[in-house]
């Protein structure tokens, strides 16, 4: 895992969701690829997806339930999980997540 992204554009304005439970910044690569980097504080939230997403966790602990599934799965720093596009997932953050969201 690389520790930084090079030759990117960063939007100065933060995205603040769920009353501050999630904070992120958008970055764009030269080829047009977009990602966001951010944190999610301990909380129980539901995120909707437009594009498919890969959530790469730098740190923290959470459990995830994808739309239409009954099972919760645990993830922590060093792991990633995939979310289909035009869908949603429930996320229970147990320890603050530091993440990179890759949009597919």
């Amino acid at each position: 895992m690389t520790t930084q992204f090079d030759n990117v554009s960063v939007v100065k304005k933060a995205n603040i969701y769920f009353d501050g439970k999630c904070v992120s910044h958008n970055i764009q690569f030269a080829d047009g690829t977009k990602k966001s980097i951010g944190v999610i504080f301990p909380s129980s939230l539901t995120f909707n997806t437009g594009a498919p997403e890969i959530m790469e966790l730098n740190a923290g602990k959470c459990r995830i339930r994808l739309k239409g599934e009954t099972e919760w799965k645990n993830y922590e720093g060093g792991q990633s999980f995939n979310v289909p596009g035009n869908s949603s997932f429930d996320i229970e953050t147990l320890e603050t997540l530091d993440y990179v969201c890759h949009f597919g």
Copy 2:
């Protein structure tokens, strides 16, 4: 004010200070210049400086008291304030700050 920084490197891992009251990400320019972009949630905090800083506020409201001063000054989105190096400042954030910190 530009809305984004181009051709920069972004550190993927967030900086989380004061139990999450401040979240930032570090960015570096091709010339070696460093800045951080982040948010400060409503709180009363004291920040220490190493390098001199210019705090550019994209949004939010706060009042600031520089080390050694008795007067508090109000700042809000669209404004900036300067902090000397090797010093500190008290900051009372009244509405969540979205900021860019320029290191001098």
